[in-house]
Amino acid sequence: MLKAIWDNIKGLYSLVVGLSITGRYLLSPVETIHYPRQVVDDEILASFRGPIQLTLGKKDPAQTRCVSCQMCVKACPGHCLKVTKGEAKAPVAWTYDFSYCCLCGACVESCPTGALEFSHKVYLVTVSREELIFDLLADLKKRAATRAEAPTPTGSAATGSASIAASAGSAAPAPPAAGTAAAAAQPSPKPAQA
């Protein structure tokens, strides 16, 4: 009986402890990021794998490295890629249906020329399925044009083999991405920061 009473008094103290913890958090600043006004750091987005895009060409950025070998099309588990071969090796149409894509990276990793990479598009919003079918060649031209206006140093020479983070050729080439590209080439626990 006495023990039961004592246990209950101790129990009441545990409630006070709980209240003090939530009270402390009540007064501490909020942890969330308020999206339209604030956004997460680019550092975090640099490793995010968004929808795939064509890598900028080596000589002419607007020229894709794709040779229409159809490896990516065969590898894709979701059957979301469609590459139409033109007269030469270069493709004439490159359609990508993002609504079927599971972002597994099979296409990126199986591409022999490194023509594909992941973008970092986090804020992609559409209102219809049709808008999720991307024409990647047009997208490449657009990015090449933006890049020509504001040239930025990138280290996107990595072939699309192993590293997902090696896709540093996007519009926002963050330093960490370049760092991982170096890490992929010569892995070590502490790669030299680019």
Partner: protein
Amino acid sequence: MDLSLAIFVQIIVAALLVIGLMVGNAVVMVYMERKVAGFIQRRPGPYEVGPWGTLQALCDSMKLLAKQLYRPGNVDIILYYLAPILAFFPVLLLFLPIPFGPYLTALNVNEGIILILAFAGLGVLSNLLAGWSSNNKYSLLGAARAVSQTVAYEIPMILALLAVVFQCGSMDLKNVTEQQGAWPWEWNVLTQPLAFFIYVVSLVGETNRAPFDLPEAESELAAGFHTEYSGMGFALFFLSEYANMLLVSLVAAVFFLGGYKGPVADGFWWIFIKAYAIMFFLVWIRWTFPRVRFDQLLNINWKWLLPLSLLNLWLTAIIVKLLI
């Protein structure tokens, strides 16, 4: 004749004011609840509507008003619609005897606390009817829980208040207030700490708030007795829940915290500050603790609160007798 007409007009005016108070209270409480919950959980809470989200509660109530009254099949129609109304209107009456200020009482009655406690018991009837009529097993279970819980928690609540009544020798809320002073050390909470503790605990049980929110335990019973209500029916339950909270907090303020009396100047602001402090505490514990189980809830009541309140009453009676 003239006098009774004056009282009648006074009551009508008071009732309108009280309805305004209830709606205003719900708006404030919804905002406070969501803001406090947000900050405890380290997020901003309502943010978009109005400055700092202050208009969120208003918009919510607009939405509820505009919603279609959806009625599930096979309900008992009369009881189904009666229940929310029955939940709302008795609470109106309960605000009448509360002394908000030295001269601000809608209805001066000698036995104000009796009136409040008697009509507070009506609230549970609406829960029962809502659960019974909505033809849903979750509602039925919620209603059964609501009845046994409210009935049980009324007893220690009454006994705790009775100790104060013994001490003050009056059931008139104004009289009880007048006997306390302006400063905290002159309040009844110092002479009756155990009664205050019991009252606050049973207040949580009486108003069905977490951690004693068994009738609407959402992880077990979806939403308990008001599972099947939408739109205005739900809004009325909501209003009456917050009005009930305000009421019991006001009673606590009157009986234990000196009512409208306070440092500097007496007035209705003091009683509201005190009542909302208690309600803030209710919100705080809601977002801190897990829910107790149903048998534990009744055990707390019958095995702990009731003997303790009886003991308190007995001690009070002896001390009062000895001192007088």
